[in-house]
């Protein structure tokens, strides 16, 4: 399938993944038939508004689905092996050793009552079986790696700035030498300058350690700076997937185009932000056909009735009826 023609076999392959959340008897589909592949060392941005399913997708990959989540279809394969993402205990060996998560460290993701060095050393001791002294030494090295002097390790989280805490979070994520790091809005609570520093650090570490990065954000400009590829999610589905260059230059899906238009860019003299009309979709009672059709400026009759297929165009994919005809050409060409 996807990635078979690539030079490297995918590190991670998500195929047809659907996750439902049950709440008081009402079930809502958080992600629906999500498929993508991630190669080693690749940086992918996962972009969408609140409730679009980007966090659920990432948490499913990390094996951190909440107890009320149910995988209703599809699978996640890591290095060719299917991950038991629904089994909390069975996922434990995978967590942090293979996939680690950089949470919003600026908030409350660090334990307030433990020194940061101890929190970084903890996975080295518990997962790698290092003795305390060795684990602490490694934690010190990791702190240096993210630009914090090792002797600051004695500090408690509240004694550090938001940017420093985010660096600590990154150092912690590197502790067990994972191959995938998921950044769950890692720069959201930071000011623009700190945000740029953190993204730069992530980029450097990524090339240095050949890490694959999945960056969850609702900020397209963050993706433009630090990712190779972007996946745009809407109402639990990936609606467009392509390289950063392609997506920003020639967005195919109307939603992507509107998202790009809503980035303020004073340099272009574009002072006004153009908001996307309408409200985010209701996941319990999702719109028929293409979920974006009630807000889409280019909606046609077909959009309200038929779910668009997710079709390939060169190296990118898009799910939109506007791009149907060309897809049929492609299918014809292939056949």
């Amino acid at each position: 399938m996807t990635g078979s023609s690539q030079d490297k076999a995918p590190l991670l392959e998500v195929s047809g993944l659907s996750v439902d959340y049950g709440l008081k008897g009402v079930s809502s589909r958080a992600i629906d038939s999500v498929s993508f592949a991630l190669r080693a060392g690749e940086a992918v941005g996962l972009v969408g508004e609140s409730g679009s399913g980007k966090t659920t997708t990432a948490m499913a990959i990390a094996g951190l689905l909440s107890p009320n989540a149910r995988v209703s279809g599809g699978q996640v394969c890591y290095r060719g092996n299917r991950l038991p993402i629904e089994d909390d205990a069975a996922m434990r060996p995978h967590r942090w050793s293979e996939t680690s998560v950089v949470f919003q460290g600026a908030m409350n993701a660090l334990n307030p009552v433990h020194r940061i060095i101890k929190q970084i050393a903890e996975p080295c001791m518990l997962k790698l079986g290092m003795p305390r002294g060795e684990a602490t030494a490694r934690a010190g090295e990791l702190l240096e790696l993210v630009g914090i002097p090792a002797d600051r390790g004695a500090a408690y989280p509240h004694e550090l700035s938001g940017g420093m805490r985010q660096r600590v979070m990154i150092a912690m994520a590197l502790a067990c030498r994972p191959s995938i790091i998921i950044g769950d809005e890692p720069t959201t609570a930071l000011d623009v300058i700190t945000q740029a520093q953190i993204l730069k650090l992530l980029g450097e570490l990524r090339s240095q350690l050949n890490l694959a990065l999945i960056l969850i954000t609702h900020d397209l400009s963050v993706v433009a700076e630090s990712c190779d590829r972007v996946m745009i999610m809407y109402a639990g589905r990936i609606v467009e997937d392509g390289t950063v260059a392609e997506i920003f230059a020639k967005p195919k899906h109307p939603y992507t185009r509107l998202l790009i238009d809503s980035i303020p860019n004073p340099a272009n003299g574009k002072k006004m932000i153009r908001p996307i009309p309408g409200d985010p979709p209701n996941l319990v009672n999702r719109p028929s056909g293409c979920a974006f059709h009630p807000r889409c400026p280019s909606a046609m009759g077909l959009c309200a009735t038929d779910v668009p297929s997710f079709d390939k165009f060169g190296r990118s994919r898009v799910a939109c009826h506007l791009h149907r005809s060309s897809q049929e050409d492609k299918v014809a060409a292939h056949a």
């Binding site: 990390a62 951190l64 205990a89 434990r92 060996p93 995978h94 967590r95 942090w96 050793s97 680690s100 998560v101 949470f103 919003q104 908030m107 409350n108 993701a109 660090l110 334990n111 307030p112 009552v113 433990h114 903890e122 996975p123 518990l126 997962k127 408690y156 509240h158 004694e159 912690m172």
Partner: protein, 329 residues
């Protein structure tokens, strides 16, 4: 964190404690005199022989109650208290208040600290577990039972315990601290004391357990939803590791505050239960003094209670600082 700032911080806490105690002393003086009733007539009125108005007046004069409340009596009381002189009891004639308190204090400390210990161990463990497994069977039972116990007056629990275990079953004594005739200085005496202690300790502990369960459960169920618990899970920790390494200490913060604050009540925390069991402690003394309007004894007991609560608050401040690095400023 430099020495100068720390000592200034402690200086401030100490000054505040002293001011609080002074206010307690002043309030104690007026509080008991506001209660209707006259010590002299209560003491002499119960006598079989008739007492003349002259004799009554002489008694009041003797106690200094004929002089104006303010400034004469109040100033006398305050200056004596500041000198560490708590005066003489009205009811227990000729006995110094300090001696009475020192005599009664051990019985209360044994009773309340044993009950606190049992309540802390059982209540905190139960509460933490209920909060960790919120919505489980243990949670439902523990929460229901502890709310019931929390809202039940402990003297009533004491009476029920007496009815069941002392009157009906006859297993345990329901009155006093010693049985008459048990030889002194022997193991028998110790066992006898423990048997007498069982029901009062149970009554006090049952009243306290509910409080600990409620606070520990609330603290733990807050901690469980914190972001750092998600981090701990993502790090691949097992449930037990998450509980012991990350949840426990955070959940203990409010619990430790409650424990240290409750330490203040060790000197007089079981007034009603002591009265029900005729336990020879501070509680019984307080009730007797209250019935006789024995102002000096009441003032002494309440000053002691005030001082130990102020001290407990101090300890709570310090303990919180040790456990939570965020308040160590």
């Amino acid at each position: 964190m430099n020495g100068g700032r720390t000592s200034r911080h402690f200086g401030r806490i100490l000054v505040r404690a002293i001011i609080t105690l002074l206010m307690v002393a002043v309030l104690n003086f007026f509080l008991f005199r506001v209660i209707p009733g006259d010590p002299a007539s209560l003491l002499l009125g119960g006598a079989r022989i008739s007492v003349t108005a002259e004799q009554m007046k002489a008694q009041r004069q003797n106690w200094g109650l004929d002089r104006p409340l303010f400034p004469d009596q109040a100033v006398d009381y305050l200056s004596a208290t500041l000198r560490g002189d708590f005066g003489y009891s009205f009811k227990f004639r000729g006995r110094r208040v300090a001696d009475l308190i020192v005599e009664r204090l051990p019985a209360t400390i044994v009773l309340v600290s044993l009950a606190q210990f049992i309540a802390i161990v059982c209540g905190v463990m139960l509460g933490l577990y209920a909060g960790w497994r919120r919505g489980g069977a243990v949670d439902h039972i523990a929460t229901g039972a502890s709310l019931l116990l929390y809202s039940t007056p402990s003297f009533w629990v004491a009476m029920i315990l007496i009815v069941i275990f002392s009157t009906a079953l006859g297993w345990l004594p329901g009155y006093g601290a010693y049985s008459p005739g048990v030889s002194t200085r022997s193991l028998d005496q110790v066992l006898d004391y423990l048997r007498h202690l069982t029901l009062p300790v149970s009554a006090v502990a049952l009243g306290l357990i509910g409080q600990y369960v409620v606070v520990a459960r609330a603290a733990m169920s807050d901690v469980v939803t914190e972001d750092y618990m998600v981090t701990a899970r993502a790090k691949g920790l097992t449930g037990g590791q998450m509980l012991m390494r990350h949840a426990f200490r955070n959940a203990m913060l409010p619990v430790v505050t409650l424990i240290t604050l409750n330490l203040g009540y060790v000197v007089a925390g079981a007034i009603t239960v002591e009265a029900v069991f005729a336990w020879p402690g501070i509680g019984g003394l307080t009730v007797e003094a209250l019935n006789a309007r024995d102002y000096p004894v009441l003032q002494g007991v309440f000053l002691l209670l005030g001082a130990s609560i102020v001290l407990a608050n101090l300890v709570a401040d310090l303990a919180y600082g040790i456990l939570d690095p965020r308040v160590r400023q």
